[in-house]
Amino acid sequence: MSLLEIRGLTKSFGGLTAIDGLDLDVAEGEIVSVIGPNGAGKTTLFNLITGVYPADGGAITFDGVELVGRDPDAITRFGISRTFQNVRLFPDMTVLENVMVGRHCRTKSGVIGAVLGLPSARREQAEVREQAKEILSFFGTRLSGYRHNQPAFVLSYANRRRLEIARAMATGARLLLLDEPVAGMNPRETAEMVELVGRLRDEKGFTLLVIEHDMRVVKGVSDRVVALDYGRKIAEGTYSEVAGNDRVIEAYLGKKATA
């Protein structure tokens, strides 16, 4: 059984159908890339999975649980987390705090624990801090040491993308949705990110669904590629199958283009 199962998913804004009867499966431990021209509905798909938009129709099942109609925070608690195309950190919280916020849904202590300094709350706080550091160490020296206490807004662009991934990891998700993880990065950073995505699966056991425009990245990371156009799936398969597909080429380059 697939970890994520999408059936007949539909969403329209006004007259515009952004996602049109989409079926999609992601198996546990798989890295699936979603490609498609601008406006194909990729980010909308992410927003539907994470509950930002309510779906108009169809079903999204995650590990046997129906997600449509649930709030985003509940969906995160089930084990799905994401990053954003335009990087949305909590800019004035420190690097460490950003990751600690990610742990929120896996921790319990409340007002009373914090105010009275109950042992359980103190232990939890210490644990969360250690876990956050542990997660940040996954990125090598990039986000470690003195960076822990820097506010997120001073980070470089590439580091913000990394921190966003760290925050998503911290939610204890099984499925990570990465929205254009290398946008705005230079070639060296891009190569690093490709490696990182692989390690996320191999070392940390995440299942990944990745939106990406950079075809070298798609080629480098994906087990399987899904191409969208006008909210419909136009091709699916390995990178070479999809990249050679006529409809995909047509969607990107327009009609009558020769490959």
């Binding site: 804004f13 980010t43 927003n47 930002v52 938009y53 649980v65 649930r70 709030d71 509940a74 608690r77 089930f78 084990g79 954003f84 742990r103 896996r106 103190r122 232990r123 706080q125 210490a126 644990e127 801090r129 250690e130 876990q131 550091k133 542990e134 997660i135 990891m169 911290a170 204890g172 998700a173 099984r174 940390k204 056991g205 995440f206």
Partner: protein, 376 residues
């Protein structure tokens, strides 16, 4: 803070690595049925029941005669058209700057209060009753001039430096400005409640279509309508109106297209001020009282009206104003008096504010507002 975190850090070895611990998500009832939906339905049911039973009891008891209801409705429309004029100021500014000009009620007060002194002088000179039409026009001009000046100064001094600040900041500024204006006018004109002189030509009633209507109320309704129609044509037909719509759509693009954004914003405040000044005189005609705090309640009510209509929408502000005025005049008697609540008119403000809360819960975009999807 720093010390406490330092002690906890070294307390425990790192715990188990985080991923994959999503094992059994524990979801309460709250996750399955969103809280807001429960609230919304509960409220809707309570509302319908409350309105139905209150109205039924009142009507069954027959406390008020049809003529009384009719008078209440006419009064409500007159009051509502004043709200509508003020509401337009909120809506225009919101449409362009996306801020609530909290001090707009004070802009309204400034005009009505200042014109009072002219009215009293004209009354003492006998001019007010010799040339009532001219006198009212002069009063309107004075009130509109004063309110416009206050509105434009407000924009220049308090709001312009904050045009790109985070949202909370201009809002707090506006609250401060509102307070500052209220108490400045108290310092300038004193804290007494002044009674507007009576204009003999405007006392009594006219019979229009078989319905006797107080003359002041008729004038208020007609004048407000004329101003609103004028505004509508200004916005839809003139170059400046077009510029205003462009700036409302996208300020940056508009300025790239060669529109002087500052001028448009100042004009917007000026128009809002003019309408508020006119509303100040109309208010004085109906209620015949001015006071330095007179802007506070009408200000919030007009904001309510703007929200009911859908803030940012001009027609919405007009309709919302009328609706609110009407509800406020009729509802206390219709809903509460039958339920045996004494002095229901004391609670008319509670009803107005409840309407605001209810509209925001049920339909936050208002009647004519667009429901923009949240961007991500």
């Amino acid at each position: 803070m720093a010390t406490s975190s330092a002690t906890t850090e070294s307390a425990e070895p790192p715990a188990s690595p985080p991923p994959g611990d999503a094992g059994g998500p524990q979801l309460g009832l709250a996750d399955r049925i969103p809280l807001r939906r429960i609230i919304r339905w509960g409220l809707a049911v309570a509302l319908v029941l409350g309105i139905a039973s209150g109205a039924y009891q009142t009507l069954a008891a027959g406390v008020f005669s049809p003529a009384q209801w009719r008078d209440l409705v006419v009064f409500g429309i007159a009051q509502g058209s004043i709200y509508a004029l003020i509401a337009l100021g909120y809506t225009l500014v919101y449409g362009i700057l996306f801020m609530i000009n909290f001090a707009h009620g004070e802009v309204f007060m400034a005009g009505g209060f200042t014109a009072f002194f002219a009215a009293r002088a004209m009354d003492q000179a006998g001019f007010l009753n010799q040339q009532p039409v001219l006198a009212v026009l002069i009063l309107l001009a004075i009130a509109m001039a004063v309110s416009t000046t206050v509105a434009v100064t407000l924009e220049r001094v308090a709001y312009r430096p904050l045009r790109n600040a985070p949202r909370l900041i201009p809002l707090i500024t506006a609250i401060g400005a509102s307070l500052f204006l209220q108490y400045s006018f108290r310092g300038l004109y004193g804290e007494d409640i002044h009674s507007y002189p009576r204009i003999d030509a405007l006392t009594g009633t006219w019979t229009i279509a078989g319905i006797p209507i107080l003359r002041t109320q008729a004038i208020v309704i007609v004048a407000a309508l004329a101003l609103m129609v004028g505004l509508y044509f200004f916005i839809s037909r003139t170059t400046m109106g077009r510029s205003m719509r462009a700036v409302a759509e996208d300020r940056e693009i508009a300025s790239l297209m060669g529109i002087d954004v500052n001028r448009v914003i100042v004009t917007t405040f000026a128009i809002g001020g003019m309408l508020a000044g006119a509303a100040g005189i109309l208010y004085a005609l109906v209620f015949r009282q001015v006071h330095f705090l007179m802007g506070f309640l009408p200000g919030i009510k007009a904001f309510t009206a703007a929200v009911i209509g859908g803030i940012g929408s001009i027609i919405g502000a007009a309709v919302g104003g009328l609706l609110l005025g009407l509800l406020e005049a009729v509802a206390p008697f219709l809903l509460l008096s039958g339920a045996g609540i004494p002095a229901p008119n004391q609670l008319k403000d509670v009803i107005a504010f409840s309407i605001l809360v209810i509209v925001l819960i049920m339909r936050p975009g208002g009647l004519f507002g667009s429901r923009e999807p949240e961007k991500l």
